[in-house]
């Protein structure tokens, strides 16, 4: 509630200059309040993670939920020294899976989406529908068959076993198609073609730059999806040096009945693993907004 109150006050004093260059209108108190209420709802549990990460093991269960503790650095230290820095190995793995996977996924989605939006050819809709139907298949149902098939080609317990399935994103292809259809004028392609540009060149030099904001979005979505993916890596990997964070933290939680779950380490680890994503949002949202705006005026 305190956030909402603070908001109203600063609104009335007009401390914040208007963000947009539009003509200043009266602030909608109701609308702003509703938005802040939503923000509060979404932030409270995140605040819980932050606060819980500052608590020592017994304080976590002993003190009031929203009472901060003083053990944040101890917890980070414990996490860092856990099995000789395993946590950071997991972080590096996750960054690799998510970074490489999302990048390849964005490129693949871009190429596929562009082709589906800008070419007319036999089977176009069939291919699109089949690709889109991929969304319908839950990961749980495919995990073991995927594992058994990966094993047949000797790829289990390798980086590839997690990376390859992460590249295919039906949702990304769908978004890229919508975006390409809306943002790339046909006339531009026609003009380039008249100038004698090859299809590859048109895609890489003209379409890709225009689609960048859309692909940044695809990248981001896929990055998050891979970053938070559990089951695929859990099934595919057995070498704990290849684990991503989710699987690694899970092993801290499930050490058996005979050992207490390392809640504080898991919570601190979760917090540390959310931070890079939050940072990524903040960095990429600039691209996102400006480019979408310009894309919109062009479209």
């Amino acid at each position: 509630m305190s956030t909402a109150l603070a908001t109203d006050r600063s609104v009335s004093t007009h401390k914040h200059p208007p963000a947009r260059p539009q003509k200043q209108r009266r602030t909608s108190v109701l609308g702003t309040a509703a938005l802040m209420l939503g923000a509060l709802y979404c932030l409270t549990p995140v605040a819980w993670v932050v606060i819980a990460a500052t608590k020592s093991r017994d304080d976590l269960f002993d003190t009031l939920t929203f009472m901060p503790g003083t053990s944040l650095f101890e917890n980070i230290h414990d996490l860092t020294t856990y099995r000789g820095g395993m946590f950071w190995e997991w972080t590096a793995n996750t960054a690799f899976y998510a970074g490489a996977g999302a990048f390849l996924s964005a490129v693949l989605s871009g190429l596929t989406g562009y082709t589906l939006a800008k070419y007319r050819f036999r089977g176009r809709n069939v291919i699109f529908n089949i690709l889109l139907a991929g969304v319908l298949v839950p990961a749980v149902t495919l995990a073991i068959p995927q594992y058994l098939l990966m094993a047949k080609v000797g790829l289990t317990d390798s980086y590839w076993s997690v990376l390859l399935p992460s590249i295919v994103s039906p949702y990304g292809m769908y978004l890229a198609r919508i975006y390409a259809a809306a943002a790339i004028p046909d006339s531009l392609i026609e003009a380039a073609r008249t100038d004698g540009a090859s299809d590859v060149r048109i895609f890489s030099m003209i379409a890709l730059p225009i689609m960048r904001p859309g692909l940044v979005t695809v990248f981001l979505f896929q990055f998050v999806a891979i970053w938070n993916n559990f089951l695929l890596a859990f099934v595919m990997l057995s070498d704990d040096h290849k684990f991503p964070l989710t699987v690694g933290l899970y092993t801290l939680l499930r050490q058996g009945n005979t050992t207490p779950a390392l809640y504080t380490l898991v919570i601190t680890g979760s917090l540390l693993s959310i931070l890079p994503l939050a940072a990524l949002f903040l960095t990429l949202q600039r691209y996102w907004r400006i480019d979408l705006l310009s894309g919109a005026t062009k479209g």
Binding site: T27, L64, Y119, V140, F230, T246, S270, F281, L282
Partner: protein, 313 residues
């Protein structure tokens, strides 16, 4: 906005069928086939198999994989738990979908409205839960729900009121839906917001000059124009809802209200990962995938002209 058919016939010579699109699609199609279609095929194959044990089952080779015919499917269709689970998921979706999508639309409109302050902060704050893995989200909501550790109960107790058990049988569906709303509202808000931003601003300016209020603009102009985005977020949310799995699985050990077959997908997981019965799990998977396919394509078909009307026809 809309893209008409590429004027291929006019500007390109029609000597041979153009191979370029097929080459461009090849990487996606090949990968898609490898990581999805082949495993799906394999799942379908497994769904017609079963293991036959002989005797004590302890000696070598006492376990054989044999053809099962429709046994697994029969078991799937006659398992009351599966259909009970499906009903529970429907109830969950009936709370989750409207709550999440309506608030996503509301927040998107608020972000887009010129008179809303702190839109930037609001957008980031509401989108932030999307960065939280659903396992962690469920765990932390678990902490907020469980009476002994919940701050809500702490406050209520100060007022001498006994807090409700939010993970009790009566409220478990709502508790789960809340986690879904929390995790999903930001994502959907961004998708809707993105398509709101794609609407040419001049449209609103002229409406404003005509004296329309912001709500009228939202209702008469914005919402109709983002209908395709609304439909797609609905479809994708519907699919995600039918696949609900992580949240109940993570919360199950904390309460007596969630069984290991609470949703159909949990049943698949239990069969495959706890009971080691890959074959039953495969059959159930195929059935669930089929039902999801029918539901979501049925919905798409019903609204197709609106979703793709601008592009396909």
């Amino acid at each position: 906005m809309s893209v008409d058919a590429t004027p291929a016939g006019r500007s390109r010579k029609r000597t041979a069928p153009n191979l370029v699109p097929y080459v461009f699609l090849a990487p996606a199609v090949v990968l898609f086939t490898l990581v999805l279609l082949v495993p799906i095929g394999y799942t379908a194959y497994l769904s017609f198999r079963k293991v036959k044990v002989s005797g004590l089952g302890l000696g070598k080779g006492s376990r054989k994989e044999i053809f099962a015919g429709l046994d697994n499917y029969q078991a799937t269709f006659t398992d009351p738990e599966l259909w009970a689970g499906a009903l529970r998921v429907l109830g969950y979706g009936a709370i989750l979908l409207p709550a999440m999508l309506l608030s996503a639309l509301l927040f998107a409109l608020l972000l887009d409205a010129p008179r809303t302050r702190f839109a930037r902060f609001g957008r980031i704050a509401i989108f932030l839960p999307y960065a939280v893995p659903s396992v962690v989200a469920s765990l932390l909501w678990g902490f907020l729900y469980l009476p002994a550790v919940s701050p809500l109960h702490y406050v209520l107790e100060r007022f001498g009121v006994e807090g409700p058990d939010l993970l009790g049988q009566g409220s478990i569906v709502g508790a789960l839906a809340n986690i879904g709303v929390w995790g999903g509202v930001g994502f959907n808000m961004i998708v809707i917001y993105t398509s709101l931003r794609a609407i040419p601003r001049e449209l609103f300016e002229s409406a404003r000059i005509d004296g329309c209020s912001e709500w009228q603009i939202a209702w008469r102009i914005k919402i109709p124009l983002v209908t395709p985005a609304l439909i797609m977020t609905t479809v994708f949310s519907l699919i995600a809802t039918l696949q609900v799995f992580t949240e109940p699985t993570t919360l199950a050990p904390m309460t007596n209200s969630l069984s290991s077959t609470w949703t159909p997908l949990m049943k698949i997981y239990r069969d495959a990962f706890v009971r080691n019965d890959l074959y039953s799990a495969a059959a159930t998977s195929i059935v669930i995938a089929g039902i999801t396919l029918i539901l979501s394509f049925g919905f798409l078909r019903a609204v197709q002209n609106r979703a793709f009307g601008s592009e396909d026809q």
